[in-house]
Symmetry: C2
Subunit: 319 residues, 2 copies
Amino acid sequence: MTMQHTSVAAVQPRTELAETLPAAFQAVETLLVDAVDSEVAVLRDASRHIIAAGGKRFRPRLTLLAYAAVGGEDPNHAVPVAAAVELVHTASVVHDDINDHGVVRRGRPSVNALFGRTFALLTGDYLFTKVYELMAPYGDLNILLAEGTSALVEGETLQAAAVKEGNFTREVYYRVIALKTAALFKSAGAMGAKLAGGTTKQIDALANFGFNIGLAFQIVDDILDLIGDKEQLGKTAGLDLEQGRGFATAYAQEGAEPSLDDKVNAIKRKAMEGDALNQARTQAHMLVQQAINELEILPPSAAKDELANLAHMIVDRSF
Amino acid sequence: MTMQHTSVAAVQPRTELAETLPAAFQAVETLLVDAVDSEVAVLRDASRHIIAAGGKRFRPRLTLLAYAAVGGEDPNHAVPVAAAVELVHTASVVHDDINDHGVVRRGRPSVNALFGRTFALLTGDYLFTKVYELMAPYGDLNILLAEGTSALVEGETLQAAAVKEGNFTREVYYRVIALKTAALFKSAGAMGAKLAGGTTKQIDALANFGFNIGLAFQIVDDILDLIGDKEQLGKTAGLDLEQGRGFATAYAQEGAEPSLDDKVNAIKRKAMEGDALNQARTQAHMLVQQAINELEILPPSAAKDELANLAHMIVDRSF
């Protein structure tokens, strides 16, 4: 066991963080690539295809910043945990693209599109097994990550079930995004804080911070799916409406004519004409503010500032 | 951390094992059902559908017996680990049935057939997340299970890749079954021994025992796929040849006419006429003997006898 339970008094000076954190981010990237070095070529190639495609890396960033903000002394110690969180997300993305027939992801062909359904399914599974491997030395942190991962799968399932049953209401929408997105952000924040030896209050604060920016992130993602530019998004846009999900569906379909031939366009028009988009934007901003409030109990630090920046980035992005 | 590193001198008397072990097996069953109590109905129902269908439970049995044979004092301590190994297997079965379009499993409709592809994929993922959760308190054992799980996915992938490339040779066949089946049996044996505080020699012996019976298990499985009775097997038989894999394919296709319309029947005829079946049977028996030889270093115990029985059961089964 390598978990530290040191005092949290020593918060890194800003200059030091500016040096150590970029190195830790780079170490996450290196570890992601190294972790999937399978002897089976297609697993290695498909895993590296999706990893190299990039993505915003919000989740590992959150883990590393939470670790630093609570006074964690060696960011390298948090690197495997940060990489594991990103791999959970990556695995889920690969599997989502199978279920949604998504052909573009992060501006590149999806694993599904490039390697076929069978290998995409196995690649997602493989990425999940690498999560175990990376997390093996981290004891109780596994409970936190398991919670987030399990919730993610539950959220995806709840979404698919509600769509199938024509029951994708606002209430279901919020339950879905809490499970499929916010829970893993929560784990990412909580694990960083716990690994740094944070107090229960600090761990809870960073868990709540993660949860709230996770909700905001998903709402913004859904807005961008509706009005975003496909090129900029780097993935198939408009999927939510086609598949009868996302906040616009939840907001707009209540009252929409179910017998319309072009239901998708009807819902989209209703969402754009009505107040749904504005409501969603307002909500995302409120959630980010709530998240930032959670940071109040932390001592001032560069990492704390960066967490606030991260929260703002999540709502102010166009892709 | 709850791992024990006790002395291994105290081997359970046979009468005691006869009492505690059935209770531990029952506890595994209960835990399997309890672990998948999702608030999302379809995940709970699909998971319990495949768990309740039974299966032979060789892997959790191996973990519990390895634990007892090395002198582990509280079988309940090994129960979550045994359940986790079975869940890895169960998750892989659910995903295999998607990729293979298997419609019958354990005498019941596959998850795929009953709940559809999307929910089957998510159910497999969900089962994987429950493995994390169960294993969280078990420290280094996670490394052993991660190795077996990762190998399993690699083996399935290697098999699919070789079939696709028309390269399913004998050499590939043995690499495939070592990865997709024997590695998890190896983890099951090694974890039981390690958890009981076994010596490195004992852990290695039970890892090798598991590996060898795992190879034998898969060879027998492939024989049964070829000649077994569908009703008795409780799953779709003959899939291997249809999908261009299994030992018969590996043995018989070398030299078979690739231009034959009915390639499947040609390979089957060749395997049945030739010596492939006998060779495979002989090999399975040899592997079981090798496995039993590994047990020599263990002190006499009821658990040791049961391990030998388990090895024999694996080759002498008709389903």
